[in-house]
């Protein structure tokens, strides 16, 4: 694949936290391309900079130096409004599910569609129910998060991230709160849907048990990429 068409292209990316004497560099000259439809695992010890890199690529932090092209858009010097528009093309799965406690599973998933505005509410509900059923939650659509298990909550969060057919999914330790089987099941679902829909997934993980599902494993240490392997 031509790297110019890659959904994520990172060039010469540096990043610092703090100011003055407390200023500390977190990323050092990062360069990488993430290809369409791939499932990439980003690994490394705590403090290695992988989450910082993820948030920069996901348009959640402002770039200080270097370049990130996300879905053809340069993120450097992007306005807040432009960031909002581009985020709507992305899906986010967090370590904590971050479901809205007062919304049912269906309503939480609908939030992933309503962000685009307009749309037929009935069609939106149909789409949300469909994604939930793919994730094995058709019997739980009206349940509040407090009445769902950890694995079910994470699957609702995945459904919320996938329902609007995002072009790129950013996942942060999506299996951290799950047991071995549930964790694997969640990543398998992400991979399957990614393959079907050509969705690119970038996943920060410490979980070695799911690495065989990744197409590519990037390892970071001390703010730099130390290995980049295709599986």
């Amino acid at each position: 694949m031509n790297s110019e068409n890659a959904p994520i292209i990172v060039k010469n990316l540096d990043y610092w936290f703090g100011e003055g004497e407390a200023k500390k560099q977190a990323l050092f000259d990062i360069n990488l391309d993430i290809h369409t439809g791939s499932l990439t695992a980003l690994m490394g010890p705590s403090g290695s900079g992988k989450t910082t890199l993820l948030t920069l690529m996901a348009c959640l932090r402002t770039l200080q130096c270097g370049s990130v092209r996300l879905l053809g858009n340069e993120l450097f010097a992007m306005t807040e409004q432009q960031q909002v528009i581009i985020r709507r093309k992305l899906g986010f799965i967090f370590q904590a599910h971050n479901l809205h406690e007062s919304l049912s599973a269906l309503e939480n998933v609908l939030m992933g569609l309503q962000v685009h505005g307009g749309g037929d509410p009935q069609k939106q509900k149909k789409a949300a129910r469909h994604v939930l059923s793919i994730l094995g939650l058709s019997e739980r659509i009206d349940y509040l998060p407090m009445n769902l298990s950890g694995g079910q909550k994470q699957r609702v969060a995945i459904a919320r991230a996938l329902v609007a057919n995002p072009q790129v999914i950013f996942a942060d330790e999506p299996t951290a709160a799950l047991d071995k089987d549930s964790g694997r099941q969640v990543v398998e679902i992400i991979k399957k849907l990614g393959t079907q829909r050509r969705t690119t997934t970038l996943m920060v993980t410490h979980d070695n048990r799911i690495l065989d599902l990744a197409d590519r494993i990037i390892t970071m240490e001390d703010g730099a990429i130390v290995s980049d392997e295709k599986t």
Partner: protein, 394 residues
Amino acid sequence: MLKLLSNLLGRTPIGWLQLSHNRTRMLAAIFGVAFANVLVFVQLGIIGAFNTSIKMTYKPFIADIIISSSNANTFSDGSSISRRYMYQSLSNPDIEAAAAVYVGLLSWNMPNGKAASMQVYGIPPESMAFIESSLRESMARITLQNTLLIDSKTRGLDKQTLSTLLDSNKSIEMNNIALTLAGTVVIGSGFGADGTLFVSDQTFLRLFPKQEGGTPSHILLKTKSNNNSADMLSSIVNNLRVSLGNDDIQVHSIDERINDDVTYQMTKRPVGVIFGFGVFIGVLVGVVIVYQVLSTDVADHLKEYATFKSMGYENRFFYSVITEQAVLLGCIGFIPGSLLAMLIYALMTMATGLPVSMEWSRMFIVLFGTIIACMISGFIATRRLKSADPAELF
């Protein structure tokens, strides 16, 4: 409710779902709004009663124009004025009739042992045309000297005492004068006095020996019946001001005088200012309570809001959610607040005899004000949204 809100907002009513999810917090917020509503309603009720009681002092009289002393800010205060202004006014071709009214205040020790401050109106018996029609029949009974009519709603005057006074034909002593009760009228107690007495001008002068017959408190004028348009009345008032031409008196149409009296008492007298300030405090309490509830709610949902931000929701979405909550709290809290206020009004009327009553216009204004105050609280609470940083979720 959910469907109605969904249709109204065109989205999932997160604000309502969030509020109703935490019932304890919602009840506390509703109680807070209701409490603020009660505070405002009570203050407005007292202001309303104050207004009504000011207007009540003019209610027994029918006149188009009133001449008072220049230092008379209300119907009950000010110096006496010369009766010659009455005769001078009658020489005006537009004036049909004139009457001198005497106003005084005396203390009455009621037979039941209570003391009451009584507003006394002295009217010449020949001027009954200046008395409101429903009172006129009773007024005919005070033509005899040393007779009086008493307000049956006088504060502290119980029914039994009143009926004993009426049945026994016993004389009542006021200011060392023995008076005969000739009947009752229905006026109501106010802030300045506990009740009202009507006597003839001659009886008045006996009750208040320092008051001279030639110097009434006010002069009431009636214009000829074909001169009752507002413009004509204004023109007659202006003509009288010029023709009477004295800095010691003021000439007003009766409506103008009532408005001036209300404005004076509401803005210059401490009681009006204090109650006005009370309304402000009530609103402030409401704003603070709703702000506290909403800002705690925002703080508790920062992660969810940050998640929504990461998904591409704009700030205006969060503002709309918080506004939705604020408006709902305002509307729901208003219901118990207004019901409780009505109960308090009834208790206040029973306890004080003041005309404290609920009006539709007041309910509408308070509801509107509550919603605005809640929206202001919500707007302030949205400042906490700045802390919802999606990058911190990772």
